[in-house]
Subunit: 430 residues, 2 copies
Amino acid sequence: MTKPLRIGIAGLGTVGAGTLSIIEAHGKLLAARCGREFHVTAVSARDRTRDRGVDLSAVRWFDNAVELAADSEIDVVLELIGGSDGIAKEVVETALANGKHVVTANKALLAHHGTQLARAAEDARVYLGYEAAVAGGIPVIKSLREGLGGNAIDRVYGILNGTCNYILTAMRESGRDFSEVLEEAQALGYAEADPSFDVDGVDAAHKLAILTALAFGCEVDFDSVSVEGIREISALDIAYAEELGYRIKLLGIAQQSEGAVLQRVHPCMVAKETPIANVEGVFNAVVAEGDFVGRILSEGAGAGAGPTASAVVADMMDIARGSTLPTFAIPAAQLAPSKGTSMAAHVSSHYVRLMVTDRPGVIADVAAALRDEEISMEAMLQRGHAPGEPVPVVITTHATTQQHIASALQRIEAMEAVLEPPRMIRIESL
Amino acid sequence: MTKPLRIGIAGLGTVGAGTLSIIEAHGKLLAARCGREFHVTAVSARDRTRDRGVDLSAVRWFDNAVELAADSEIDVVLELIGGSDGIAKEVVETALANGKHVVTANKALLAHHGTQLARAAEDARVYLGYEAAVAGGIPVIKSLREGLGGNAIDRVYGILNGTCNYILTAMRESGRDFSEVLEEAQALGYAEADPSFDVDGVDAAHKLAILTALAFGCEVDFDSVSVEGIREISALDIAYAEELGYRIKLLGIAQQSEGAVLQRVHPCMVAKETPIANVEGVFNAVVAEGDFVGRILSEGAGAGAGPTASAVVADMMDIARGSTLPTFAIPAAQLAPSKGTSMAAHVSSHYVRLMVTDRPGVIADVAAALRDEEISMEAMLQRGHAPGEPVPVVITTHATTQQHIASALQRIEAMEAVLEPPRMIRIESL
Ligand SMILES: NC(=O)c1ccc[n+]([C@@H]2O[C@H](COP(=O)([O-])OP(=O)(O)OC[C@H]3O[C@@H](n4cnc5c(N)ncnc54)[C@H](OP(=O)(O)O)[C@@H]3O)[C@@H](O)[C@H]2O)c1
Ligand SMILES: NC(=O)c1ccc[n+]([C@@H]2O[C@H](COP(=O)([O-])OP(=O)(O)OC[C@H]3O[C@@H](n4cnc5c(N)ncnc54)[C@H](OP(=O)(O)O)[C@@H]3O)[C@@H](O)[C@H]2O)c1
């Protein structure tokens, strides 16, 4: 058997402690599977006195995680602290610079500095693992990089944030509104006290930027991801979606066309029969469409100690087994410079909901605004009649550009009989 | 760049030609991803004159695939002929004996000789890839062996045969009976002229035996798989399943308990809400339940030229990148001897359908037979009344052993008012 893999763990929170648990529970199994023992030799966190549920008395403690990253008796550094910059970045850079393999669960870090870190890993001839950074326990990085490696990927998309999916599912099941369900999610630990990274789509966008680089062989380009969150989704729209045969999901979608990549995160209406529409609650799912393999969907837990640590351990197994794969599947120098396109030219169908005063001529005005922007309606729903009262009017359109729909909505919003800003949700054909 | 990977392909049918297409279409991509070019240097099939849709004029032709397998100018041999014995086995054994890596899509071969071939590969220090043998394009072997490698697997199951899933889906959607739908599937190319390997569950059992070895680290033990196919499934039972909130799926299920592994392939009723119930048509899906990661489901095309070749190419990429993983995740010598248990002790709920003469006392007799076997009923459905005419009676039971249900059904079948052998389908809680 090869000599043990010496592991230094920076960060002993949810993921760090979870990783320690797996190594403790499955030491023998890991050794059998890798031909090599896993030895945690050093750890670092802020509070040395906190009980981590695992005996750390035999393990070297570092108050300074950057010193751990430079330590000569460590083969692989796990960065499980978090944050796109600061200490986490310093730990990873130091480890790479010192010729150590790195495993991280930090999507923010990779979304912002992925290309540069991939280059550093390559220069140092070490492995930079980040399976845990996207979709938690689902081995989606490995699938894209290796399992589907014989394909050109046409499109990759997924439910990349469990908090949002939990909220949307609970809203649909209970008929309650966003804010109420968010509070419940916070109480249950499914949402952070400050939920903005999740509900505003930033976390999903981090993960999408990583998937995009990997799927299309281009530099990580978080800045060109178009991002919308789920705060504007109302119980009413969820009910209408249901009636029209759709589910509302926050998806991250990356698609290549004519050499450019469009990356977008926004609420989508997806047909109820599609597999992704049926991924509910805190679960994540990723779909990759390859030119030979077709559509592959993987579903599972996207967060939590066990699932995330499972992914961290998988990366360590690759390292223990001697894998030397480039970070984003091809050598960093070959990654195409990002050529992100904006949403402007993106074409899709739309769901539009208005609240209008129920009086003659309103519908005609709305229809005219759409016609003038060359948008053709697929269906219109108006239920109940309460002359003079606000009533919802729902329209679905055929495919049109963002520009056209935006102009039409602007015109519609300005109408006197239209009482609130129109709500618009894109209808995705998946 | 390392020197090219020299590939010899034995078998140029659906999968072989598909593999050639990928190498032709994505030569550059593969080289970028593996740091190594893929060169097909030799091929073998029966009919040299047949047009394979790919230019083979520059490639050496072997009439004898075994000679190809021994050729000194080949690094990896693709066995894409098929069959558990005969030429396919000879090709694989010869290649391994000659120190060549092997990639095969042949589940029958691995189900019958997997342990022995894994040993041979290990002795020769070469890679034996078989991603294509289970669930076609879905990278399920890689997921289990690597992506979920940090887990002890509690249970693995799946829809492993697209032909059966197509037939069951079409039966449900059209209300037609098995034989009619089978004919249609044959006309569409979804079922073979001799469909027995598929519809009798043998093909699914081959794949399950492979998954079992990989998931539980034991020798491949096809002989202890309990196998039932779908010939007995009727349109009536599918309709009742729907009414009771279930879908009928042919599943392969392997579960470990007290050190022994139960492997079974049979039609199952699964709750409509479970992800696997919604995998329809020719698609396959595999679910692995890990102790840390929880439930991971992967879904995609389980057969066809593109998807299957995608998996073959993924294995070649691993070889090109220098992977040296043991065939069934741990060294062959460490695989536990098979300790397969039989169905006898297996406990589950059951769906039972009888055709009875509608006359007083029948139900009481049936209920007494169940009671005597200590089987408690969960529900009973009897619709329509046509005194003296045959009517269906449907019963669902609470959990009971195979032995108890078999005895009860035997007793029920002997009753004069029971007109046909009872139909029984296990209800799986997934
Ligand atoms: N939680 C999940 O389900 C999940 C899923 C996917 C990815 N991730 C990612 O995994 C990473 C870790 O997440 P987490 O949930 O485990 O976070 P967490 O529970 O907040 O743990 C963070 C850990 O980092 C330590 N730490 C903070 N500042 C430090 C410093 N200056 N030096 C050394 N240690 C420091 C903390 O120490 P103390 O314990 O002493 O405070 C704590 O142990 C993040 O990048 C996150 O995005 C998490
Ligand atoms: N088809 C699928 O979707 C699929 C999916 C998963 C796994 N698989 C597995 O992949 C393997 C190949 O399946 P397939 O569908 O590609 O089969 P196929 O279309 O019937 O092709 C078989 C190939 O083997 C060649 N062959 C037969 N006997 C030979 C011999 N003695 N020497 C050399 N070549 C010989 C045939 O030559 P000729 O062309 O000259 O007749 C043909 O090219 C099987 O193990 C199958 O179970 C298939």
